[in-house]
Symmetry: D2
Subunit: 151 residues, 4 copies
């Protein structure tokens, strides 16, 4: 599958290590496609918590996923070490499009990449979109990436 | 989020029940976005196994996920009962695009919907795309849907 | 592994169907040992919700797992159909020991069995054990099993 | 729950970091009890692979879980950092009892602990127990712990 376009590491301003688990592998010996979204979730939420000060247990706002997408280029497998890259493709008033890539440790070309769109809403009324809080917005602004949006 | 377009049940020729699990819920009390892809996987593979005779343990071919996508319209939550709808949006020589929707039991409008693209390859050489076997193709042909491809 | 003692279906007064998922299988082609505990969770919580009226989203009490245990006798594999058996081995003031078995559909001898101990606590103060509410206690009393406690 | 006996870090000769994931949390905001077993799996298999040279994709032997057990002492929650401790409680001809503890980063008292029993079998005939290969046995012997077996 390697001939198709993929994403390169230098397009992701934030990178974090990801640990694979035995149970990530499926019957074919690869990390199951489902698990990549759990990596996406982890990369996004770690950033929001560590860099933006999100408190998932008591903040008045919560982020709801409204769309996710992933393209798979190379199989990865437990016990490989992986890294997750993150950038912001679009930063709205109450929504944000994260673009995420999964790399084998030390590789430049992504094994998989995709996006994840969050809408921030009021915890007590999930139908009410809410402006992204300032601390989170400031963090997200640091990783806005102005390349072409490709996925 | 309800105003946006969603998918309707009558556009899915194959429907199966899906059981939710306690661990499907996340800290916000909804089924985690990641878990929908596990429902997608289950709907697709149940169909391939039950209707197409796929043997995931010994068949010479395996299906690799090359792209998945999901749009979320309504939150669902354990212990709700769900149903998964399946149609084929495109049937190639060695690849297939499944279109899947997740419904709350008895509802017509999908709570979430998306697609999943499989490429069939040789188990011993995963870089070699392989024609879809006849029994699987015959099953998939029965659920090709000629509406507009919308996701 | 078949020679060792297992549990029989007639020792479980409550039985419910369990749906396996593609992602339940591990690299060896069996349902991963971890996933059995997700079946346990599902059997226990479905019972508490359906029979005891537990509201996991707003009840003042929550059940915390303090001990779980499982013995594995026969491998099961997606896409098999399974059933979960449940009985109460010990019903205390604020704690309960559930005994659970996982059966292949229609089989009498358990493929796996174990236990799960819940302590009910106050949602706002998880260090404070709380008496089991009457509706839940009444439901649990119906499935107390007086055989020998074997695990 | 803090008054009950727990396990201390100095009783575990092998320690490794464990990364939590967003999806590890359940609706009550804690790491779900099921997920601890996925940490157990990861600690055990990382050791077998890194220290014992196990090749999960092609080795002639595979390890089957025959019994697992966990006791929970303190709640942990994503995004905490955790560590997994491992020792061998009993090393047989073809079976091994691992004893595992989960620590919050830097804490001495385990948040949870338990055991996991593996029987090694032939990949082609899973009913045939097989002696533990020499490289794996040598690794396991290094972490046999002669304290009292308490779980």
């Amino acid at each position: 599958m390697g001939e198709r376009r993929t994403e390169m590491r230098d397009r992701y301003p934030h990178i974090m290590p990801l640990q694979t688990r035995w149970s990530d592998n499926d019957v074919y010996g690869h990390v199951n496609n489902v698990v990549y979204y759990s990596y996406f979730d982890t990369v996004v939420n770690c950033f929001l918590i560590d860099e933006g000060g999100l408190d998932i247990h008591s903040d008045q706002i919560i982020g709801l996923a409204v769309e996710t997408h992933c393209e798979f280029r190379k199989e990865v497998t437990y016990p490989e070490r992986l890294e997750g890259g993150l950038r912001v493709g679009r930063l709205g008033n109450s929504s944000v499009r994260y673009e995420i890539a999964i790399f084998r440790e030390g590789e430049d070309a992504a094994a998989a990449f995709g996006h994840f769109i969050h809408v921030f809403v009021d915890r007590a009324n999930e139908n009410r979109p809410t402006p992204i809080p300032k601390s989170i917005r400031t963090a997200l602004e640091r990783i806005v990436f102005n390349g072409n949006d490709q996925t």
